[in-house]
């Protein structure tokens, strides 16, 4: 399952910053965010599809000794070695098993390609920009540091991940 990340979409980095501007120009169709959404435990997360190169099935992840805790290992992506990040532990959840639904979301960020291990990939979702709110301040967990905002839409709660922070590796 490959997703064309280069479709014409809204630029998404820093969606929250864009909110006031979007609210002011409320004429015409509301601007939307194109998100790839995926699940970790029962929570749904979203990242801008502009950052996604493809989504692949998990076909063997080799553990590498003595690597940072949030690195699950490496996998073979058509002859290239792809480092796979354990998104669950990175976000403060416990490590989970790889199941038939597990996927690796291959992201491209600042010229680097990395894999994110997720429990399952939902779909590409269009979310109106005005449904996004800043992360609730009263809830402070390990994961809120990594959020740029929360989208409440269509009776779903999608947490928007700031990949820059999530993948600021070894920082």
């Amino acid at each position: 399952m490959a997703i064309d990340g280069r479709a014409a979409v809204e630029p998404l980095l820093g969606f929250v910053d864009a909110l006031p501007a979007a609210a002011a120009g409320a004429s015409g169709p509301a601007p939307t965010l194109h998100l790839l959404t995926f699940a970790l435990d029962r929570e749904e997360f979203g990242i801008p599809i502009t950052q996604v190169r493809e989504v692949i099935r998990v076909n063997g992840i080799t553990r590498v000794p003595q690597v940072p805790a949030h690195v699950r290992g490496v996998t073979n992506l058509r002859g290239r070695i792809l480092a796979v990040v354990e998104l669950r532990t990175r976000l403060g959840l416990v490590e989970g098993p790889v199941t038939a639904a597990s996927r690796i979301v291959v992201v491209e960020l600042r010229g680097r390609t990395l894999g994110l291990l997720v429990d399952r990939v939902s779909q590409v979702t269009k979310v109106p920009v005005d449904s996004v709110a800043p992360p609730p301040e009263e809830v402070v967990t390990a994961e809120t540091d990594f959020l740029t905002g929360v989208a409440r839409w269509d009776s779903r709660l999608i947490m928007l991940l700031d990949l820059d922070k999530v993948l600021l590796l070894n920082a």
């Binding site: 076909n59 063997g60 080799t62 553990r63 590498v64 000794p65 003595q66 690597v67 940072p68 690195v71 290992g73 490496v74 996998t75 073979n76 002859g79 070695i81 792809l82 480092a83 990040v85 680097r112 990395l114 993948l167 590796l169 070894n170």
Partner: protein, 551 residues
């Protein structure tokens, strides 16, 4: 021509590629000449050997409009022409002028552009003219002599040029990448054949498939060796800059040194060579600055005033050995011990060899004073790290009063490594065969526990045997005893590594470690196996080192 208006920009690289080695030869010859003159040898052949190169450099530089280089080459030609005449004064002044000029020529060409330091070139020409001014008849003889050379000396390399093409090294890397994929696909085919054989049993078609897979392997390994050969360069391409640098260090330190280079035609992968210059330079400078004594001290110790520094390269059983040795004072064991104790290392039980190994530990430089060298370059620990990163080893031997020798053992290439594949806790690992002495079936009764460490007899020696799970940090306690151990070696160090399965030997294509993985101490890289799985390549040198420090 004005600076920056060079119309031959595309040709500049060609100019450097052709002229720089010539200039380095000339520079080396002048260093040698200076040494011989001091020893009372007229060195006529050496002087004669540079005229062709100087002439070519002058011509090339003139064609490119690189006036400073042309002028320096011209001035050197005149100087050599004068010095070649009988009765010319071949003293220190002439020698210093030649060496300076040779160095200047290398520097100018190395950073080739028309506007590099015209001042330095002008200054040098003024010095040459000043020197020749004492003997004005030289300039009259000069032009005739040069024209005679032009007629009689064919340009070196003219005959070979037609069959040689210049290729960007990145293309060779790209080809290697493709070959790597081919090797992986071959392993996949071979695996598929074995599975088919198990499922349908032997038949004629499968026999043919087996043959085809086998000949594919032969084709690939021919392709590999051909490609590897194209990547190889003689070590002399790196050694070339050493004579002048050694000479410079010796002058700065007030030492007299003869550098003897052998085995310059030994070949190494360019990727290895590119990273070898710095550590070698460090070892050589170190030998001159700290190893060799001042001439007076040497004579008092009954040695020749001139120190001997040897740089030797040779191919040894599939690897390349490079040795830097001197006949100086040897490592100062007392100083090493004192420094080590100051750093909190207990050296009471250390024997001489262990003490010597400590020179590779960070912060343990035994230089008791800061020299011009100490500021630049790297420490011995950094040099050792570079060698290790290349999959090499470095050893030191030393005898008080007789000198020291550093021996490097390096893989010929970094790209494809013959390895033993083993399985530990259901993951596969590659162990480079150059570090595997033997694989042994681990009979529980032959391994004894001493101080919580497994110890066994191996070829008459006692060696430690460690569980791979513990070494790699992947093992869970209370696993069944592993049935095999691999005896790993690096230099003088050995250790058994207990593993679950021995899978077999395989050529693996080395792939790097993603920066996201940090810098694991036990893994040097990754590779893709025939079944598409990724395996980590064990960094044997660092594993054995870690074990030694752990002890």
């Amino acid at each position: 021509m004005k600076a920056g208006e060079n119309p031959f920009g595309d040709l500049l690289q060609d100019y450097i590629v052709e002229s720089l080695p010539l200039a380095e030869q000339v520079g080396d010859a002048f260093v040698e000449l200076e040494r011989r003159w001091r020893a009372g040898d007229p060195g006529d052949q050496v002087l004669a050997s540079v005229t062709g190169s100087l002439h070519t450099i002058k011509g090339n530089s003139a064609m490119m409009g690189l006036t400073p280089m042309r002028d320096v080459a011209h001035a050197l030609e005149d100087l050599c022409g004068y010095l070649a005449r009988a009765g010319a004064s071949r003293g220190d002044e002439a020698a210093a002028l030649l060496v300076t000029g040779g160095g200047l020529l290398v520097d100018l060409i190395g950073s080739a552009s028309a506007d590099t330091e015209p001042g330095a070139a002008d200054q040098f020409m003024a010095r040459v003219l000043g020197f020749l001014g004492v003997a004005p008849e030289a300039s009259a003889a000069g032009p005739d002599r040069r024209q005679a050379e032009r007629r009689t000396q064919p340009r070196a390399g003219d005959t070979e040029a037609a069959s040689v093409v210049r290729v960007d090294f990145r293309r060779l890397d790209a080809m290697l990448e493709v070959l790597g994929e081919g090797i992986i696909q071959h392993s996949a085919l071979a695996e598929l054949y074995r599975r088919l054989l198990r499922r349908v049993g032997a038949c004629e078609e499968l026999g043919e498939l087996d043959q085809t897979v086998l000949s594919l392997q032969k084709t690939l390994s021919r392709l590999e060796s051909t490609l590897m050969e194209t990547r190889l360069l003689p070590v002399s391409t790196v050694f070339g800059r050493f004579p002048r640098m050694v000479r410079d260090v010796a002058h700065a330190e007030g030492k007299r040194v003869r550098l003897e280079v052998t085995g310059g035609d030994t070949s190494l992968d360019k990727a290895v060579l590119d990273r070898l210059g710095e550590p070698l330079l460090h070892l050589l400078s170190n030998a001159v600055a700290h190893g060799l004594e001042l001439p007076g001290d040497r004579v008092r110790a009954g040695k020749p005033a001139e120190g001997l520094l040897r740089l030797q390269a040779a191919a040894v059983s599939g690897r390349v050995a490079i040795r830097v040795s001197d006949d100086g004072r040897g490592l100062d064991q007392t100083a090493i011990r004192a420094k080590a104790e100051a750093l909190g290392v207990d050296t009471r039980a250390a024997d001489t060899a262990q003490l010597h190994q400590l020179v590779f530990v960070a912060g343990l430089s035994t230089a008791d004073r800061v020299t011009t060298l100490a500021g630049r370059g790297m420490g011995l620990d950094v040099a050792a790290n570079v060698i290790h990163a290349l999959g090499g080893t470095i050893e030191v031997e030393s005898r008080p009063g007789q000198g020291s020798a550093f021996t490097l053992s390096l893989p010929v290439t970094l790209a494809i490594v013959r390895s033993l594949i083993v399985e530990v806790d259901r993951e596969r690992y590659a162990v480079p065969l150059s570090h595997v002495a033997e694989t042994v079936r681990a009979e529980p009764e032959t391994i004894r526990q001493i101080n919580n460490q497994g110890v066994t007899q191996w070829r008459g020696d006692l060696i430690h045997v460690a569980d791979a799970g513990a070494v790699l940090g992947t093992g869970k306690p209370c696993e069944a005893p592993r049935p095999f151990y691999v005896v790993m070696t690096a230099g003088a160090r050995r250790r058994g590594l207990l593993v679950d399965r021995l899978i077999g030997h395989q050529d693996i294509v080395v792939k790097g470690l993603d920066p996201a993985l940090g810098r694991p101490a036990v893994v040097s890289g990754t590779t893709i196996l025939g079944d598409g799985r990724v395996a980590c390549i064990l960094d044997v040198v660092r594993i054995l080192e870690g074990a030694a420090h752990g002890n």
